[in-house]
Each structure stands twice: as C-alpha cells, then as structure tokens.
Symmetry: none
Subunit: 204 residues, 4 copies
DNA sequence: AATGAATGAGGATTCATTCAT
DNA sequence: CATGAATGAATCCTCATTCAT
C-alpha cells in the first residue's frame, strides 16, 4: 500500500519543516511534534504523508542532496571555461553563511547516521557520484584547454576536491564565525586551483 | 562535587565503553545501560562518576581528540625532514580501516553536536588548533628546507590539509569498503604534497 | 437519523467485510480502514452507514447469530424424526473447519465483549433462546416418540446441549487441527445422544 | 538478557493487578497505566518486570490456568470415590459467582486471542491436557468401581466433560444473574453424571 | 562505594472520527 | 452520496535520573 500522490505540495512542506527543525535543534532533539508544529500541521498529518519518522528523514536527505546537486550543475553550466566552471562550482556550494550553516548542520547529522545506515549511505553515494561527475568533467575540460595539469586523473581528483569543499565548510561551521565564511571559501578556491596545477591561472 | 580522582581508572573504563558503544550503535541509540554493560559496571556507577550522560560524552570527545593529537605529534616528531613529517602526520591519521571507522563514526556524531553546542565546539577547536600547529610547523620547516612552496602561508594551509584528511576519510567511510582505505590515503598524500608545491618545486 | 434503508445491500457488504476482517485478524487488530478496504469502499462510507465502529460490531453480532439460527432451524425442519432432527441440528453447526474457524473466532471475540456489555449480551441471549427453543422442541418430540428419556426437562436440557456443541467447537478451535473437526463432531453427537438417554432407552 | 529474579513477589502483584483490570474492563480496554495503577506501582515498573504488555498477558494466562488446575487437582484428591471426585472436580470449578465471573471474563478474552495466537494456544493446551487427565483418571476409577459406563473411552469423554463445564459457565455468564450460578452447576453435575452412565447413581 | 529498583517525562505511532469538497 | 485529508487523543515503550539499601 504505497499511499502516494497525496498532494506533493504538502510533502515538500513537511520536508522543509523537518529541515528547519533539524537545522535548529539537531537530529534527535527533533520530534514529530516539532516538525508538525514547524509545518503548521497536526501531528497526525506527518504520519499521513510519511510511513514513519525515519521515512521523513530518508526522503529529506534525498531531497536535500538532490537540490544541492541541481544548483551545482546549473551554476557550472552557466560558465564555459574550465576555471570559471570550477569557481562556479565552489561558489555554488559556498552560498551564504546562513544557508551553509543550516545545510551543513543537517548534513553532518545525516553523515553521522549514514556511517551506520545503508539507506542513508546509498543516498549519499548518489550525491557523491553526481558531484564527482561535475568535477571530473570540469577537470577534463581544463585539461583540454591546457589550463589544468594534464597528468591528473579526473576520476581521482574529484573526491579530493569534494574533500576540500566539505572539509573547509565543516571547519568554518565549527569555528562559528560568519565573517570567516568568505575566508574559508577563498582557502578552498586557492587550494583547488593549486591542486589542479593551474600555476598558469595564478600567474595571471 | 568531590567526585573526581575517585578512580581515574574506572572513568577511563567508562569512557572507553562509551566510545565502543557509540562506534557500534550510534550516538542516540546508546543508553547509559549500554555503556554500563559494555564497561562491566552497574548503571549506577556511571552516574556516580559522571554528572550526567552529557558529561560522559563531553569528556569522551575531549579524551578522544586528546589521544589522536598525541599520536599525531608523536608520529611527526619521529621524523626530521618536512616531507617525511607530513607523510607521518597523514599516516598517523590513516591508521587502519577498523580504527578509522570507529573513530570517524564517533567523531561525525560529535561534529553534528558541535555544530549546535558551544561546549563541544570548544573542545573541537582545541583539537583543530593542535592539528593546525603541527601542520604549520611542518610547512614552515619544509619552506626552510626549500621543498615546499615558499609563497604559501603556513597558517592558511593548515586548515586545507586537515580538510583533505577529514574529507577523504569521511568519503571513505561513506563508501563502506575497507579495501579503499589505502586508496583514499594515497589520494590524501598526493593531494597534500601537490598542494604544498613540492612537486612544482621539484619540477622547476 | 435518516440513515437506514439507504442501501441495505451496502450495509451487508460492510458487515461481511467486518466479519472477514475480524475472523482474520482479530477484533482489536481490525480498524475501520481494514473493514473499508475489505469491503472495497472508502473509509468514509463505513461511517456513513454506521454511527460508529461499535455500531458495526453490534449489528454484525446480530446479523451473524441470526444467520446461524436460520440455518439451524432450516436444517432441523427438513427432518421429521427427533433423532434425525437432533443430528441435523448438530451437523448444521459443525459445517466445515473453515467456516467454523471463522465463526468461532469472531464469536469468541463477541462473547468476551458480551461478558461486560449489556448490548452484546442482549443479542446473544436472543440467539441462546432461539437455539434453546429448537433443542427443546426436538427433545419433547423425542419424548413423545419414546426415544428420549421421558424424565428429562426439555427446558433444562437445552443449555447443556448448547454447552456441548459450543464447548466441543471451542476445544477443536484451540486444538488447531482441521482433521479433528469430524472427531469433535462425533464426540458431540454421541454425548448429546447419551445425554438424551436414547441409548438407555434402547437398552431397556 | 533474561532479566529475572527481580522479586517474584512484585511480578505476582502485577499479574494479579492485570487480572483484576482485565476482569473489570476487558482485554483491550486495559492499558499498562491501568495495570500499574491497579498494582499501585508506577508505569515504568511494569516494563521493568515484563518485556512488554504482551509478556504480562502471556504470563497471566499461564499463571491463571496453572492455579485453576492446582485447585481442581487438590479438590479431587481429597475424595476417594469416583463419583465424589467428579463432583469435587465440578464444584472446584463452580467456586462462586464472583470468582467465576472474573475468571471466565478473562478466560474468554484469552480464548479469543488464542484462536489466533500460537503462544496462547500452547498455554491453553497445557491446561486442557491437565484437566483432561484429571477427568480421565476419575472416569477410569469409576469404571473400576463399576459405577460408570464401562463402554466409555476415558480419553474421549474428558473433552466432553470440559465442554459441559465451560459451556455451562459461559452461558451462566452471558445470562448475567448470580442466582442462576447454582442452577447451572446443577445442570452441569446432572449432565456429566448422565453422560457417565451412572444410572445407578441417580437411582439411589 | 556500588547496586539496581523505581519513577515518570517524553516520543513514535495508531486510529476513530470529523468535515470540506 | 462519497471521498480521503486532517485531527488529536490515547497507548506502548524507552531511558535518564534518583535513591534506598
């Protein structure tokens, strides 16, 4: 009995409420009541649209990472040169202190779970793969353009790029100061470019 | 609050049990009963040595990061040349699939909490600072030795190095395959070295 | 309360669905949703035809016992001699393992309720009275025929006959083996006949 | 982890409270709160002594039927002649309106469940077997004494005797009148004796 | 010191019932 | 007439914490 199609609208509303709630209070401080309150619906409604609390969260992770990926892809496709694409990619993640704080708080909660739950890990893998594909394409383009180190393996570089992005944002989050957001983004940009061997780029 | 020094032994025993329990089942699936069972003491004892469950966890984070830092510092001090020190640093983190899995599972749980709790963030900052100091010293040494890019700011490079290390281990953890542990370690080593310009340096 | 005769058809359909659902899952595992699903109507419809869940169940008991009684009466009236009528009566209850299982499961649920609810008890009493009347008439006929013990009080014998029938079927149900259905029916037949002194009568 | 031995005393207290509660309100109207209240303990205590609500009930059935059986066995063993034993057996069941009402209310609830739950059925089977053994021994003794019909199979008669006893008490319970308790007991006694063919007994 | 019995607040989940469409 | 979305009361269960022994 896959009760679906019950107003996709309201499902989104609940997912967003769950996101807000987790961002605010943390994964396990969040109750269905909190979510329901935040979504301005009754407690029963959450269960009407979702099998269980777990189901809400699984779908939330899926939805969140899906959205992030779409934004990254869109940002990258607006540029034509490899270096510009890479900057666009990084900048599309470093959106703003507020958004990054909310997302990475929630994302860290999910990663913690994912380390033990195959379901979460699965969803996250899809996200990683998507991000890796974006990076790899940019790297290959850059190599064609002659601006990135031609000896690099695009496939092997992608995870490192993601490491730098996620690592920097986690450290920024742990630091707790909004002002440093731009600083960490800069660390990230420079590190990635250095990594890609764009000595050339820096020279200019 | 006389409760201290009662038996530093037993406190450690409980902390280790908590670590094992969290690594195994996850932060919120862990109950005081679980910890007590795992430490082979009664539930009451845990409360006898620690104010509350929260107190156990705060101390656990402190204890854990302290140990990791000590190992890193020890490993680095055994080498004399910058490049060797940096490899030693990285390798001291990439200990083994089993240990890394346990630690990063627990650590991710703490990071998730830390994003909202000043107490955890405080402890983690101390850890970050210690790690950053190690990296910075190595970078400076390498610059003196002439093997690392002299234009780099040691202070600014440190967080990126940590990003790569943590980022790679997180991705490895999400991947779920022990065999890839060495692969990710390699990505990490190469990326850090490339970043430090040792290759470029050699190239020119 | 105009709600009647709306469609006697659909009321029956719902009652039968309720019967099936209770037979299958048990009284309190049954929800209005289950009933509605089983009756291939929407949940709202059940409430449209019945005041409440309780109302469905009260009417179900009434309907069920009514049907059983009709079958008993019909079976008995097809025979003309007392002994044959009594056998027909018993056999009309011991229909088949499948039907008896379904009915007695549901009936036990009702008896449990009836022990505390006057409404259910009322309905059940009507059933008991009907059954008792059938038995009593057979007994009296048998006494006229000279095949049943003439010293027996027809009124007092009826409940004992019903005890044996219900008691045997309950024990069979608790036993869980379809194969024993015929065996218990046999116990029942013999016991009733012995009770009515037909054997003694023959003996003398 | 079979947490046991936690004061067998209190377990009994909770079981008795559960019995009282079910007798009063019915199986599914009974909540853990009701039981806890009735046992004058906190809600948590019930879960401390029993795995779950289900576990309480399973143990209750076991405990109840065990006690009933012991009483029957004790009553029978006090008599030496078959007919007296059989009367003692019947009378040990027909204790008093109050006790029979409580027991049969609860017992009917269990029977209803047992028809679907193997665990309950198992326990009830043990009870049936015990009762059957008592009856069978009495019947055989009576046959030796020459007061019971020697053609009867003791094994096959036992279930019928239990049917009459249970059947009569259920009908009495459905009737709702305390005054009829003695009347139904009498029906039961007479029917059983007639069944056992003790024409002899009646003549005297 | 240590134990583990007892407490009770809090949370996920279920479901009869209501009601707008 | 019919639907199924929405509600929220009620229930089982978990667990940190307290405390008598």
């Amino acid at each position: 009995m896959v009760r679906y199609k019950k107003s996709e609208e309201k499902r989104k509303q609940i997912l967003y409420a769950a996101f807000q709630a987790i961002a605010g209070q943390g994964y396990d401080a969040v109750t269905l009541q909190t979510i329901a309150d935040s979504a301005k619906v009754s407690k029963g409604v959450v269960h009407y649209y979702f099998e269980s609390k777990e189901a809400v969260l699984v779908e939330l992770l899926s939805w969140l990472t899906g959205k992030i990926y779409e934004k990254e892809a869109a940002a990258v496709s607006e540029q034509s040169k490899a270096a510009d694409k890479m900057y666009a990619y990084i900048d599309s993640v470093f959106v703003s202190p507020e958004k990054n704080r909310d997302f990475y708080r929630v994302y860290l909660d999910f990663l913690a779970r994912a380390s033990r739950s195959a379901a979460y890990r699965e969803i996250n893998s899809r996200f990683y793969d998507n991000c890796a594909r974006i990076s790899a394409e940019i790297v290959e383009l850059g190599q064609h353009e002659g601006v990135f180190d031609s000896r690099l393996s695009a496939r092997e570089t992608a995870p490192v790029i993601r490491s730098i992005i996620d690592g920097c944002l986690i450290q920024w989050l742990m630091n707790g100061q909004d002002e440093l957001h731009a600083v960490y983004r800069d660390y990230c940009r420079k590190a990635v470019m250095k990594l890609l061997g764009s000595e050339t780029g820096e020279k200019s």
